[in-house]
Amino acid sequence: MARVYIFKRFERFWHWAQAALVVALLLTGFEVHGSYRLLGWERAASLHTSAAWLLIGLWLFAIFWHFTTGEWKQYIPTTEKVFAMLKYYLVGIFSDAPHPFRVTRLSKHNPLQRLAYLLVKVCINPLIWVSGLLYLYYNELGATVFAGPGLGAIALVHTAAAFLMLAFLIAHAYLATTGHTPLAHVKAMITGWEDLDDEPAHEPTRSHT
């Protein structure tokens, strides 16, 4: 079986650090929101702020990395094979049909991934980022810029974005199990190497090691 090195070291670090931070932010964020009591409000709020700054720092590095390496092109949306992917997830995956998309170094995300990650990057993240910074600096801006909508409106946007992120996280974590083995994608994200079927189009049976 062929292997391809698709996730470089920084990318893997970025992914897992981001994953940990997002989980921490969701946990503390919804405690700050008042959905439950876990760490105590004060600790939750303070951890939330610290984690947010780390994530912002990480994003800055990641953005720089994406543009200097050209990896940003991985997120250019395409309509090609979108329906084939949908059909695979809805039908094919249950009948062991061949995966309609073949990972390469230059195209490591399937069309649905491209769309989903692009959505996260251009919609959810900026929404969280902007509303979160406004939330954090409400006092400095509040008197002038945000006298109208107030903290409530900022919190509303931030919370809405958090729910979108939560839904994404759940779906993403599940879809990570849809590789040729349940842990195949996770392994790839850890080691960087993705196993490839030799001739996916002509080989209906996948190895279940």
Binding site: E42, L151, G152, T159, A160, A167, I170, Y174, T178
Partner: protein
């Protein structure tokens, strides 16, 4: 140069001994430790070496040196018991009707026990007579100075039977030793009246009672007798006898910085900000500084009032007053702790210690219901006074308040609060005859107000700012005291408080959790399907 080890030790020992000797020499000797801060020893003044026969005689002696003192005092609220509200209405002790003992009018001889004057026994008192100013009530240091109730603020210098014919004798007071020991005012001086507002220890304010005479740090971080040991005047910085910081003229929001010595001072020196400035929390707690635009310092730093072991009154129902016990004598009831909760003279009380304040937006404006204002008996209590303010007026912060709830006599026909003649050695005083109609008739007549002849009782509320009994920082409120549902600020509207459920957009939370649940359910269903087909295949 190398020095042997033992030689080095010896050198150090000698140097240490020299240093210690120098320090001992520099220590203040016994004489300088007793240095008077005042340049005057009042016991040496000839004019004070006489046997005074009355309070005004002492005052005349004081004024023989302190020529301007009486004139200064006669400008004050302490003297006038009157305050002109910015809305143009006449307030002050002399004019308002509260829901404690209600009014000064028609009860002068009793209420003016706490006046800084001598002889205010009716509405004919001469406010211009300088000798009527009582210097000793604020400057006594002996603790022996007393103005007994019922004497219109006069001191008793001859043994006097009071009330006349009662057989009870009020002992004479020797003024000479008191006059010779005068000094700056202390907590005890202010407390002699202010700790006992409302007719007893801690009754009225809740954040002022006799526990503040010598408080520990936990009770009041500033007045802590073994620590900062502030006097009242440390904050209520008085110049020319003008005492700042009256609740009639409150500073609800102070945007100024900390006052610096030597700089000309404007503004109210009693605010927290006047010493602590606008950003009092350290860098590691900087987020707390972001709260100061909306939350008064007192809100977090006075977690509860009446913390000194003395209960304050929370409610007072006059309507049940006048009951006689089985023995035919006025009934008195006490609670399990031996505190009086009912007297025939005053009705029922609710007492409480360690009281969590209520919270309200406050912009410094206070509106009052005065005699003659039309009131109605309804589900809503009549507001004796009310703190104005809102989240949106840009001038308000959230303040801790004591809300005192009463039920008191009013005239249901003329729809006005009533002036009650409570105390006095006469047929109409309520405390003599327990007859409301007579007491109200006499009270209203004394101020020339109309009275229908009918008395009913109306529920009332008054608000008192909570600003004393500041706790040490570690006892201040924690985030979750307010950042939670059903927290302390649950009822404060107009502001988004993160963590407070009632501020949430329920539709958003509904949709958000549904979306997450849908994602989770979808994943579980899809995953189960995959497991199912893969099992069937093998």
């Amino acid at each position: 140069m190398q020095m042997p080890m033992h030689a080095a030790f010896r050198t150090i020992a000698v140097m240490a001994a020299m240093l210690m000797a120098a320090a001992a020499h520099g220590a203040p000797d016994a004489a300088s430790a007793q240095l008077l801060k005042s340049t005057s020893d009042h016991s040496k003044f000839k004019v004070l070496q006489q046997d005074f026969q009355s309070g005004p005689e002492v005052t005349k002696a004081c004024l023989s040196c302190h020529t301007e003192a009486a004139r200064q005092l006669q400008l004050t609220q302490h003297w006038k018991w009157e305050f002109l509200n910015p809305d143009g209405r006449r307030l002050g002790k002399k004019n308002v009707i509260n829901n404690f003992c209600t009014s000064v009018a028609s009860n002068y001889a009793y209420c003016t026990t706490c006046h800084i004057g001598y002889g205010w026994k009716d509405d004919q008192f001469d406010f211009t007579a300088q000798e009527n100013v009582d210097c000793l009530i604020c400057h006594d240091t002996t603790g022996n100075y007393r103005k007994p109730s019922g004497f219109a603020g006069n001191v008793v210098t001859r043994d006097t039977e009071f009330p006349p014919g009662s057989g009870k004798v009020v002992k004479a007071l020797k003024l000479r030793p008191i006059a010779q020991e005068v000094a700056k005012t202390s907590r005890d001086n202010c407390g002699a009246c202010h700790f006992f507002g409302g007719g007893g220890d801690g009754v009225k304010h809740g954040d002022l009672d006799s526990s503040l005479a010598s408080p520990d740090k936990a009770l009041d971080v500033h007045m802590d007798a073994t620590g900062n040991n502030f006097a009242c005047a440390t904050c209520h910085m008085t110049e020319g006898h003008q005492v700042p910081g009256s609740r009639y003229a409150p500073t609800a929001v102070d945007k100024g910085g900390a006052h610096l010595r030597g700089k000309e001072r404007t503004g109210n020196p009693t605010t927290c900000q006047s010493c602590h400035g606008q950003a009092p929390h350290k860098a590691n707690l900087a987020k707390l500084n972001d709260h100061t635009d909306k939350v008064a310092c007192q809100t977090c730093h006075i977690p509860a009032y009446a913390r000194g072991g003395i209960a304050t009154k929370m409610a007072w129902d006059w309507s049940t007053a006048g009951r006689m016990g089985p023995d035919g004598k006025p009934l008195v009831k006490t609670d399990a702790k031996g505190r009086v909760i009912y007297t025939a003279a005053k009705g029922h009380f609710v007492l409480a210690e360690n009281v969590v304040p209520e919270y309200a937006w406050f912009n410094g404006k206070v509106t009052y219901t005065l005699l003659g204002d039309r009131i109605e008996k309804s589900d809503q209590p009549t507001r004796i006074n009310h703190f104005e303010g809102s989240a949106s007026d840009g001038k308000s912060t959230i303040w801790p308040v004591k809300v005192f709830r009463g039920k008191q006599a009013y005239d249901p026909v003329n729809q006005t609060l009533a002036v009650l003649h409570m105390a006095g050695n006469d047929d109409t005083a309520f405390w003599t005859n327990f007859n409301w109609e007579k007491a109200v008739a006499a009270g209203m007549a004394s101020v020339g107000a109309p009275f229908s002849g009918q008395v009913d009782f109306v529920s009332t509320e008054s608000m008192w700012p909570i600003t004393h009994m500041v706790a040490p920082a570690q006892s201040a409120l924690k985030c979750r005291d307010c950042h939670a549902s059903d927290g302390r600020l649950e009822k404060v509207s107009g502001i988004y408080i993160p963590g407070r459920g009632s501020d949430h957009a329920t539709w958003l939370d509904g949709i958000g959790w549904a979306l997450a649940a849908l994602a989770l359910f979808g994943a579980l269903a899809h995953g189960s399907g995959r497991i199912f087909v893969s099992r069937r295949r093998t």
